[in-house]
């Protein structure tokens, strides 16, 4: 589904990713861990198409297409979803309105019919309940005055509604208490399926207790220095990055 080859990217002419290779197949859950400044968030942003990041080399194919030939919204409509580390606030736009506009914008791009309001409401209600998102939250302006936990739950709600084929979660666990973490993880797990892949970016192993990855990759200085199974996360938690880097 996603094939990253020798990816190099920079921010303000400072190289961050320095030849990253990663292949993700449908049905797999990959976790990327690494110390601060290793390039974890850069990877997420480059894949989604954030303009501050310059792609200097390498290639990424997504569902067999050259990802970098696609506009941001085209990537979204083709199934790439990024759960933001810091979700943006939009005053005046009700969360519910934003959800409906997003889902219909994607459907339109794919040449599908827009969802009718009753249909949409039914789906939102069901998914919102699953994430403890109250009807009152849905009426409030998008992310305005939301707590950290509410914002993250709102990101996952969007993910559940948009049903992407590739879910990229950027530091979704940051700012979550243990109860919120469990709710978010349950939401994410409910999306696991043989035709969907996930890329989970996290600093700590904590989230991976709830969302079990098939593969764990250690990212250091813009490159993947070690890959393994779920057990690698535990090793990391025990020994720290220093040993891993030294042994790599």
């Amino acid at each position: 589904m996603l094939e990253i080859k020798n990816l190099q990217a920079s921010v303000e002419e400072k190289p961050i990713l320095k030849g990253l290779d990663l292949t993700i197949n449908a049905g797999e859950v990959h976790a990327i861990m690494g110390p601060n400044g290793a390039g974890k968030s850069t990877l997420a942003n480059v894949l989604a198409g954030q303009a501050d990041y310059e792609v200097d080399g390498g290639s990424v194919s997504f569902h067999g297409e050259d990802l970098f030939e696609l506009e941001i919204e085209e990537r979204a409509a083709k199934g790439l979803f990024l759960s933001f580390q810091y979700p943006l606030e939009i005053p005046g736009v009700a969360t519910m309105t934003f959800l409906k506009e997003s889902i219909n914008a994607q459907r339109k791009q794919r040449g599908e019919n827009e969802l009718s309001t009753p249909n949409f409401m039914k789906i939102v209600k069901e998914k919102a309940q699953q994430l403890n998102v109250t009807p009152e939250m849905l009426r409030r302006p998008l992310n305005v005055g939301f707590s950290g936990g509410e914002k993250k739950r709102n990101e996952i709600l969007q993910m559940l509604l948009l049903e992407p084929s590739l879910c990229i979660l950027d530091e979704t666990d940051s700012g979550l208490d243990i109860d919120a973490l469990r709710v978010v993880a349950d939401g994410v797990n409910s999306l696991r399926s043989p035709d969907r892949a996930m890329l989970i970016i996290t600093h700590y192993q904590r989230l991976l207790d709830y969302i079990k990855p098939d593969f764990v990759h250690i990212l250091v200085d813009g490159k993947i220095v070690k890959s393994g199974g779920a057990e690698l996360a535990h090793e990391l938690e025990r020994d720290g990055y220093k040993d891993i880097i030294a042994s790599a």
Binding site: A48, E73, G92, V93, E101, A105, Q158
Partner: protein
């Protein structure tokens, strides 16, 4: 939302330098010579077949104007206007006293069709069957060309006609109320308008009557170098109710066109007037060449107890906008409202806001102003809320929100509050937000393209004001908002 979808579709069809209403109409016109002097004032008055008292009134206004100085306190900048280089009267040459719409010059009719004005009565009836009807007065350059539904309105005693007709047919009402709200010498442009106004609408709602339909006037400047000076007078007798809407467009011209209107509203006991404006004068091109100078004085006098006036405006056009629709809250318990969306793009300059003058006891005012700046434009809210010593228990709520798109535009908020007693309450809230690259990235990551994202954000920002427009025009206004901002992101 269907409306947003429509907004986006409309946006997709139009680019910034392609002002939708930028066509001109080739019709033969009857013009006064260029320039302004007493003879021109006499010419206009004679053309309008006015009684002697009206001519005298105009001439005294003209003499007053000559003594006044052009104001320079606002934040807008423009080269000095040469008042000798303008035409003060232009009328379609064909006979304009019409028995029915069929007699109207087909070119003018075509123009209104392009503007999307529901001018033909049968179309209105067929189009919005069962919904409220709209009576239309259409003003082309200097004259009113057609007024619809007059007969039906007359049944309930409502007078809705061109002001030139009212001067001839209802002189007692005009004499009593003209300049009673905006005195001739109120300001430079009000005096100019008093001397040379050529047409506009006159509305009279008798005691206790609820006007059976929306009243609407469409203004269009067609001729180059023509000033449009319309005069609107609305009188709402005790216990009456009326909703009035004005729409404005002009063709694309390299020269700047001058528009200096005066609107006066008189509101008696328990009466209510709702005045909505969708202003879309030509804003100039993306380099700032051309466009309409819109210098307007609009004021309502709430003479009666518990009377109410509500101004709603959507301002998207004009190179320069200078207007402050105001309420004099004279009657005890009277209420004034001001809901505004002012959008500036390209090199447009806006200095607009409202004045709420509380004179009566227990009077209330509410101001919701939404300014959106894009491109290289500047957008200034200037407002005043004042209470006299005797005006006790006054309440005011003001909210001024600014939305910036891009980093070359500016927004300013200049609120004045004058409180002369201690029993009054004033609330003022202001916010400034920005559509920046991060917000756009977030929206696009969810699948919205740039236009859709801007439409969603801006419609959310303007919602409170759009909700106050008459239903028939809310969708049109929403479209206009999106069109005005097209190409402002990215």
């Amino acid at each position: 939302m269907a409306a947003i979808k429509e907004t986006v579709n409309t946006v997709a069809e139009i680019d910034l330098d392609n002002y939708k209403y930028g066509f001109t109409t080739d019709i033969e016109v009857d013009k006064a010579p260029k320039g302004l002097n007493e003879d021109i004032v006499r010419f206009i008055s004679a053309k309008k077949d006015e009684p002697e008292w009206m001519l005298e009134w105009r001439l005294s206004a003209f003499r007053r104007w000559k003594k006044l100085e052009e104001p320079d306190w606002s934040s807008v900048h423009y080269p000095k206007i040469d008042f000798e280089d303008l035409y003060y009267y232009a009328a379609p040459k064909k006979k304009i006293e019409l028995d029915s719409l069929d007699d109207l010059d087909p070119d003018i009719l075509e123009t209104y069709k392009k503007l999307g004005i529901p001018l033909k009565e049968q179309e209105i009836l067929a189009g919005v069957k069962g919904a409220s009807n709209i009576a239309v007065d259409a003003v082309f350059d200097s004259v009113s060309v057609v007024t619809t539904f007059k007969a039906k309105l007359a049944e309930s005693g409502v007078i809705f006609c061109p002001i030139s007709e009212a001067i001839r047919e209802h002189p007692e009402l005009v004499k009593k109320y003209l300049a009673s709200v905006v005195p001739v010498g109120d300001n430079f442009y009000a005096a100019l308008n008093s001397a040379v106004f050529t047409d506009g609408s006159f509305v009279y709602i008798p005691k206790g009557v609820r006007c059976p339909m929306e009243l609407s006037t469409y203004f269009r400047i067609n001729e180059p170098n023509t000033g449009q000076f319309e005069r609107t007078l609305i009188i709402a007798e005790a216990g009456s109710h009326v909703s009035y809407l004005e729409g404005c467009t002009a063709p694309m011209r390299d020269e700047n066109q001058l528009h200096a209107a005066v609107v006066e509203i008189v509101v008696m006991d328990d009466a209510e007037v709702k005045y909505s404006t969708v202003q879309n004068w030509y804003p100039g091109n993306s380099e700032g060449v051309g466009g309409v100078y819109n210098f307007v004085t609009k004021r309502a006098d709430c003479i009666g107890k518990n009377s109410k006036v509500s101004w709603t405006q959507v301002e998207t056009g004009s190179a320069i906008t200078w207007k402050y629709p105001s309420c004099i809250l004279r009657g005890d318990g009277s209420q004034g409202e001001f809901y505004s969306i002012a959008i500036s793009n390209g090199y447009q300059q806006i200095d607009s806001g409202t004045k709420m003058i509380h004179l009566g006891k227990n009077t209330k005012s509410r101001i919701i102003s939404k300014g959106i700046s894009a491109g290289h434009s500047s957008n200034c809210y200037r407002g005043i809320v004042s209470t006299q010593r005797s005006a006790t228990n006054v309440r005011n709520f003001t909210q001024c929100d600014s939305l910036l798109i891009g980093d070359k535009c500016s927004a300013h908020t200049i609120p004045y509050i004058e409180a002369r007693n201690s029993s009054s309450t004033f609330e003022h809230e202001a916010t400034t937000s920005k559509i920046n690259d991060d917000v756009m990235f977030y929206c696009r990551q969810r699948g919205l393209n740039e236009e859709e994202a801007v439409a969603v954000i801006v419609n959310g920002f303007c919602k409170e004001v759009l909700q106050n427009l008459p239903m028939e025009f809310a969708v049109e206004a929403q479209k206009l908002v999106a069109i005005s901002l097209e190409g402002s992101v990215g």
